[in-house]
């Protein structure tokens, strides 16, 4: 074993699984990673030769919902991922060990495997008061994150908290929580936003790195293109109803029973980039829109401040305002029209008044007839 690379193929051999099974797994992996079938060769090659990576998983300012999602991944199974495909050395919520031995193990790993491990981070980083709002093992998260990030080969930001700051960063952001990438720099960072991210996306991203030893192609915001390359709106199975102009008006109307588009009840699908529309959740079972609830845009930066989630057009963001731009606009347009009419009438009245005054003046001076003549009879 020691001379051989600890690859996926070795693992299959150890288990006495056939080459055929291995190939099938590789085909499945290619599909899960969002790669085209032509990439199968590279996946097989990578699965034969690449050493499976060490992963350190940190938890910061968050709700652990991302872990909850992660452990429900079904292709590949999370158990397969963490027991066989990666070597998960530290995860304070999943580890059997706890306390000082676990922390000691973390230190051992980041020293021994420096520059080789993947750092998966879940949760934002509170900065105010020197980061005391989130402490793990007696140390602030800010501190331990910086320490672990130093030797990381790549960093994966799991969830909207790690990617954008998360719900605790909602206005006015009392703990000044920020994303991991605002604290750590100089490392390749993959953002996997979502509240939580789709389980298969989470395992898919870590498997991509595990197999190819490099981060997947990222878009302009740092998210893997294969999972965040489309709007939910553009992949939604209810899109046909949107195009036809058939909308749910209320959550209990006939349209909602018929499964029409949720655009008018505040669906954020048109502004949200994720794989919910095509991968769906829980092994392709469903996703929010399929369940009859609009998307809330949980993988988008700042989605927590874009409430109300059940309205297309939010109220004007001023204190004590419960009116939309459309209402204000309509009222103001009528007011403007009214004002214009009044102004026009006033103008005419003033002119008429001036004319009368002028006529009076001219008549008093006896110039009226002359003036009339000079004007060509026009007055």
């Amino acid at each position: 074993m020691k001379n051989r690379v600890n690859s996926l193929w070795t693992l299959f051999q150890e288990r006495r699984l056939s080459r055929r099974t291995f190939m099938k797994s590789c085909i499945a992996l290619t599909a899960i990673l969002g790669l085209p079938p032509t990439m199968l060769d590279s996946v097989v090659k990578a699965a034969e030769t690449t050493e499976l990576p060490t992963v350190i998983w940190l938890h910061g300012h968050e709700c652990t919902g991302c872990s909850e999602a992660f452990i429900r991944s079904s292709s590949p199974f999370t158990s397969d991922v963490i027991l066989n495909m990666i070597s998960l050395e530290y995860d304070d919520t999943l580890a059997a060990a706890s306390g000082e031995p676990l922390e000691e193990h973390l230190h051992k790993i980041i020293t021994e495997k420096s520059g080789k491990y993947i750092l998966a981070v879940e949760g934002g980083v509170p900065l105010d008061d020197d980061g005391v709002y989130c402490t793990v093992g007696g140390r602030t998260f800010k501190e331990s994150l910086k320490e672990c990030a130093k030797g990381a080969a790549a960093i994966i930001e799991y969830g909207s908290c790690a990617s954008w700051g998360g719900i605790q960063a909602a206005k006015p952001n009392p703990t000044n929580t920020v994303s991991v990438s605002s604290v750590v720099s100089g490392k390749p960072i993959i953002k996997v936003p979502g509240c939580p991210p789709i389980p298969e996306v989470m395992t898919g991203v870590v498997m991509h790195y595990a197999l190819f030893g490099q981060i997947p192609p990222l878009d302009s915001q740092g998210r893997p293109k294969q999972f965040y390359g489309n709007r939910i709106h553009d992949t939604c199975y209810r899109r046909a109803f949107f195009d036809s102009g058939l909308f749910v008006e209320k959550f209990d109307d006939d349209a909602s029973k018929a499964g029409w588009c949720l655009y008018k009840v505040g669906c954020r699908g048109p502004q949200t980039y994720n794989s919910c529309g095509n991968l769906r959740w829980w092994n392709g079972l469903s996703y929010p829109i399929q369940s009859g609830h609009g998307c809330i845009g949980c993988s988008e930066k700042g989605f927590w401040d874009n409430d109300v989630f059940y309205k297309r057009l939010p109220d004007i963001p001023l204190a004590n305002t419960i009116t939309t731009a459309d209402t204000v606009g309509t009222v103001a347009a009528f007011t403007a029209t009214g004002a214009v009419i009044v102004h026009g009438a006033a103008t005419l009245a003033r002119n008429k008044y001036n004319d009368i005054q002028e006529e009076k003046r001219l008549k008093e001076q006896g110039l009226w007839d002359e003036a009339k003549h000079n004007n060509g009879g026009r007055h």
Binding site: A255, E300, D326
Partner: protein, 268 residues
């Protein structure tokens, strides 16, 4: 034309500008109403009795509204670009607010008082008064914002395409795509107010001053008895004996006597 016999005709707006003014009018009208529909759709549901299978064929389908909106958006964008390009070679097409001139600031006050109908000793004639200059410049800024936010949203059909790559930083600058939608929607309403006031002012000016304000956007001509105070924006010449920053507000000087139009007028 009888009405203008005592006035001189000034060619102010080029044909180029007039064409694109009207294409902008048409496209903005289409954009505003289809935009409102896109923001709050529902005619299909209101008209009722829609068979989902055939709804896509309807004129009030979202598909149709969006298509009109996008076509009109492209027309507006090109009109905007062409109109600005035209302003480079035609003086009358670029009556911009000139903040560095004293006359601009004086005009602001004078025109405001004029519209408040407060009597003033001397009121001047303008090719375009300071308020109008400011409003048009502001509207062009708003056009620019609408075009940028509009195409930013449009580009995101293909986020990794060329347009998507260009507009991604713009979107993150505005705090996400959701905000871009909201900004686009808010600005759209400004055009309605502009239109109401703009149309009123043009008609009022036409009736009060008889300067051909309304027809000027068809014929390109305006009519004045004397050179308007900001005539140099049109002919590029300073009026004689006058400093630009300190116009004399009491007397009008005759315009250039070598001007053939002037001679014609005198011959008559």
């Amino acid at each position: 034309m009888l009405i203008h016999t005592d006035k001189k005709a000034y060619v102010v707006f080029s044909l180029w500008l007039r064409i694109f003014h009207w294409t902008m009018v048409l496209s903005v009208t289409a954009l505003f109403w289809t935009g409102l529909y896109i923001g709050d759709p529902g005619f299909a549901a209101i008209t009722g009795q829609v068979e989902p299978t055939f709804a896509i064929d309807g004129w009030f389908s979202m598909e149709m509204m969006r298509r009109i909106h996008f076509y009109a958006g492209f027309i507006l964008t090109f009109s905007f670009i062409f109109r600005i390009a035209g302003a480079i070679w035609n003086r009358g097409d670029r009556l911009l607010p000139r903040f560095n001139q004293k006359r601009y600031w004086y005009g602001l006050r004078e025109t405001t008082l004029h519209y408040l109908m407060i009597p003033q000793k001397h009121e001047h004639h303008w090719l375009r008064n300071s308020l109008a200059r400011t409003a048009y410049a502001a509207v062009y800024v708003l056009f620019f914002c609408e075009i940028v936010t509009g195409f930013a949203m449009y580009a995101m059909i293909e986020p990794n395409g060329i347009l998507g790559t260009i507009f991604a930083p713009v979107i993150s600058l505005m705090g996400g795509e959701y905000n871009v939608h909201i900004i686009h929607h808010y600005i759209a309403w400004c055009f309605l107010f502009f239109t109401i006031i703009h149309v009123y002012m043009a008609f009022r000016e036409d009736v009060m001053e008889e300067s051909g304000e309304v027809s000027s956007m068809v014929s390109g001509m305006k009519y004045y008895a004397h050179d308007p105070i900001d005539i140099e924006d049109l002919n590029g010449k300073r009026r004689r004996g006058e400093r630009i920053d300190k116009p004399s507000f009491t007397t009008y000087r005759p315009s250039d006597p070598n001007d053939p139009r002037e001679k014609e007028l005198q011959d008559e």
